[in-house]
């Protein structure tokens, strides 16, 4: 157990180090002044420039520069945005949770709909209902998320008018950001009508969650179904049947656990797709998430923001992947024998 923890921690730290180095190198590779790319501040005169050079240790060797850069990152000094002039840490702190929020709801949708439907399809494999579920999930999985989001907007927002077109919440409500999750922030804020605000926020959440959740749910159904079918063909299921166990007993005691074990790592791979999809959909719905924010940074050629945004997103993806993999390692007793790769 401890050995697993240590191994994963080392892996995590090393990966982060590589990513940080990459974001540091980008300051040199991006067009323009290294100092500006790194700090986000355009010096107005030579005195200020010299001060910044000294502050960022640009007069010293690359290694010391990088070491200093690391320390700055740790201390929360991530530089400033070109365009807004605000500290990047604050901007990322607002945008990243918004992305995590819709990704979380999409994942919950996949768990609560995809898992049971997948189990059902697996048990009833090759029946009519299974074939139907299988075809529908295959189609949903193959649909490009961008197109799906547009269709949803066209149908629900423009035709039916049941869901708002863009944004996170109506401007009527002024919700201070505490956790970055809009639903939680609403509950925490005072002086507003909580019921109304929640309803409004949920309305805004509906379409983006549906757009990315559909694809994740389809993936979940397919993974679960396959996994259940695989387990049902195992000799130990035949042996359990030969012992006179009933179908529900076999399902609960032997199928569910064994089928869940391969689902977890496969869903971890889906996390990357999920976050990518979320970032794409954000731009369509003007959802104030990191994807939207990065697109804006690209338009504005805001190099410091791009560097930090890339680092933040990749850190998020890597952390989730490693965490899920580690949990999976601890849960699965047979795993030691196979020694699958970490990421």
């Amino acid at each position: 157990m401890i050995r697993i923890l240590v191994r994963y921690s080392v892996l995590f730290v090393l990966t982060l180090l590589v990513l940080t180095a990459l974001s540091f190198v980008l300051a040199y590779l991006f067009p323009g002044d290294v100092l500006v790319n790194l700090s986000g501040i355009t010096p107005e005169n030579e005195v200020q420039r010299d001060a910044l050079v000294r502050q960022y240790r640009l007069d010293q060797s690359y290694l010391i520069q990088f070491w200093h850069y690391l320390q700055q990152l740790m201390n929360g000094n991530w530089g400033y945005s070109f365009t807004s002039g605000l500290p990047l840490r604050e901007e990322v702190g607002l945008a990243l949770p918004a992305t995590i929020e819709i990704s979380t709801y999409a994942m919950l949708m996949a768990l609560f709909i995809g898992l049971p439907v997948g189990y059902y399809a697996g048990i009833r494999s090759y029946s009519l209902s299974d074939r139907t579920i299988n075809s529908v999930s295959l189609i949903s999985y193959s649909v490009p998320v961008f197109w799906l989001a547009l269709v949803l907007i066209l149908f629900f927002s423009l035709e039916l008018g049941v869901a708002p077109l863009s944004g996170r919440i109506s401007l009527m409500f002024d919700i201070p950001s505490v956790t970055g999750f809009i639903l939680i922030d609403i509950l925490l804020s005072e002086h507003i009508d909580h019921g109304l605000a929640l309803r409004d926020a949920l309305h805004h959440l509906l379409l983006p969650t549906l757009a990315i959740g559909t694809i994740t749910t389809a993936a979940m159904i397919r993974i679960t179904r396959r996994s259940v079918i695989d387990v049902l063909q195992k000799p130990y299921i035949a042996a359990a049947r030969a012992r006179g166990l009933s179908r529900p007993q076999i399902f609960v005691r032997h199928v569910m656990r064994n089928a869940s074990l391969p689902i977890l790592p496969l869903m971890a791979i889906q996390i990357t797709t999920l976050i990518t999809n979320a970032m794409i959909v954000e731009t369509l719905f003007s959802w104030p998430g990191i994807g939207n924010w990065l697109i804006q940074a690209i338009y504005q050629r805001d190099y410091p923001a791009l560097r930090i945004g890339m680092l933040a997103v990749s850190t998020l993806v890597i952390s989730l992947t490693i965490l899920v993999d580690m949990f999976n390692r601890m849960l699965d007793p047979g795993r030691e024998r196979f020694e699958r790769g970490a990421i």
Binding site: P235, A238, A239, A242, R243, G244, P333
Partner: protein
């Protein structure tokens, strides 16, 4: 009276482009209180018979039989719940490849406890009941020769040696106190001492509890001494069946004789002149079964008539399927 009575069991597997008969008119019966050996080279269909009796063959395979009954009840036509009840209480199976037959994600002890029928457990509260389950599990472990129960009860199948997993498999079969035990190659890969231990346990249970056993093996030496009767299988067909004594002394089918000859210690029992070299060649694959008697291409006595399938003939309780049987002059 036979407890398990199978007549002309045929199993057809649809491979997509052709239908192959993996079992062709197999007949097999196990009488109450007897140990019946089912022998044949590997690939002859022994495990398929075991799966067919257990009712765990894939549903798309076609099973037909003139008779397949347990204590007079037709196993093929009974309801699913009746069938399950028979498997739960009356028939217990030890599958070959014990590691595969164990849930890899559950501790061995839990799997053993799961096999204890609910009727054996008394107690009002769940902790009393689980305590009793544990007690029964431990005593069964001791019975099959797992002495360090503390070490193994929480272990997972892949963490222990194959011998221990095999013993757990046997314990799981015995814990429901079945009337018939079907053991598919239960001693494969075991150390000689463990093997003797298990064989002794089976013999003892057969004598003290009147447990009937269908003992499947290709290891003639191990079963010859303990079995009362034997059925010989070749390429999915029963070639000979009868009391062990008779088969050993006077096998009628050339294949039985070759099989007995291949086990060295039996040779001394046979008159030296009639000794037949062990058959050359190997068992045909399912896709390339010869027509008629499936032993034909390997059989030293084969003649033209052998291209038609020999009928089952019977002398008292000794049956065989061969056009030109051995030892007939002595009968």
């Amino acid at each position: 009276m036979a407890m398990l009575d199978i007549k002309n069991l045929t199993l057809e597997i649809n491979t997509g482009d052709s239908v192959i008969k993996a079992l062709d008119k197999v007949s097999l019966s196990v009488n109450s209180g007897e140990i019946r050996a089912l022998v044949g080279e590997s690939g002859s269909g022994k495990s398929l018979i075991v799966s067919a009796i257990s009712g765990v063959l894939p549903p798309q395979w076609r099973i037909t039989a003139d008779r397949m009954s347990w204590n007079g009840d037709n196993l093929l036509s009974m309801s699913v719940s009746q069938r399950r009840e028979v498997m739960r209480r009356d028939i217990a199976v030890v599958f070959q490849n014990p590691l595969g037959a164990m849930d890899p994600s559950a501790p061995l002890g839990a799997q053993l406890e799961e096999s204890i029928p609910n009727e054996f457990i008394r107690g009002t509260w769940f902790w009393q009941r689980s305590q009793q389950r544990r007690k029964i599990a431990i005593s069964t472990m001791h019975k099959v020769g797992i002495k360090q129960h503390k070490r193994y009860i929480h272990a997972f199948p892949h963490q222990v040696s194959a011998d221990i997993v095999q013993k757990f498999m046997i314990a799981m079969a015995l814990v429901s106190q079945p009337k018939l035990l079907i053991a598919d190659d239960p001693t494969r890969g075991m150390e000689p001492t463990t093997k003797t231990q298990v064989l002794k346990l089976f013999t003892r249970l057969n004598q003290t509890r009147a447990l009937s056993i269908l003992f499947v093996s290709h290891d003639l030496l191990a079963i010859a001494s303990m079995s009362h009767s034997m059925t010989v299988l070749y390429a999915g067909q029963t070639v000979e069946s009868g009391r062990m004594k008779h088969l050993r002394k006077r096998p009628l089918h050339p294949y039985t004789k070759a099989l007995l000859d291949s086990a060295p210690s039996f040779r001394t029992n046979l008159p030296p002149k009639s000794s037949l070299p062990t058959l050359d060649g190997s068992i045909p694959t399912l896709q390339h079964m010869p027509i008629g008697c499936r032993l034909g291409p390997r059989c030293p006595r084969a003649q033209r008539a052998c291209v038609s399938t020999p009928a089952v003939r019977r002398i008292h309780d000794h049956t065989y399927s061969c056009h030109f049987p051995l030892h007939m002059e002595k009968l």
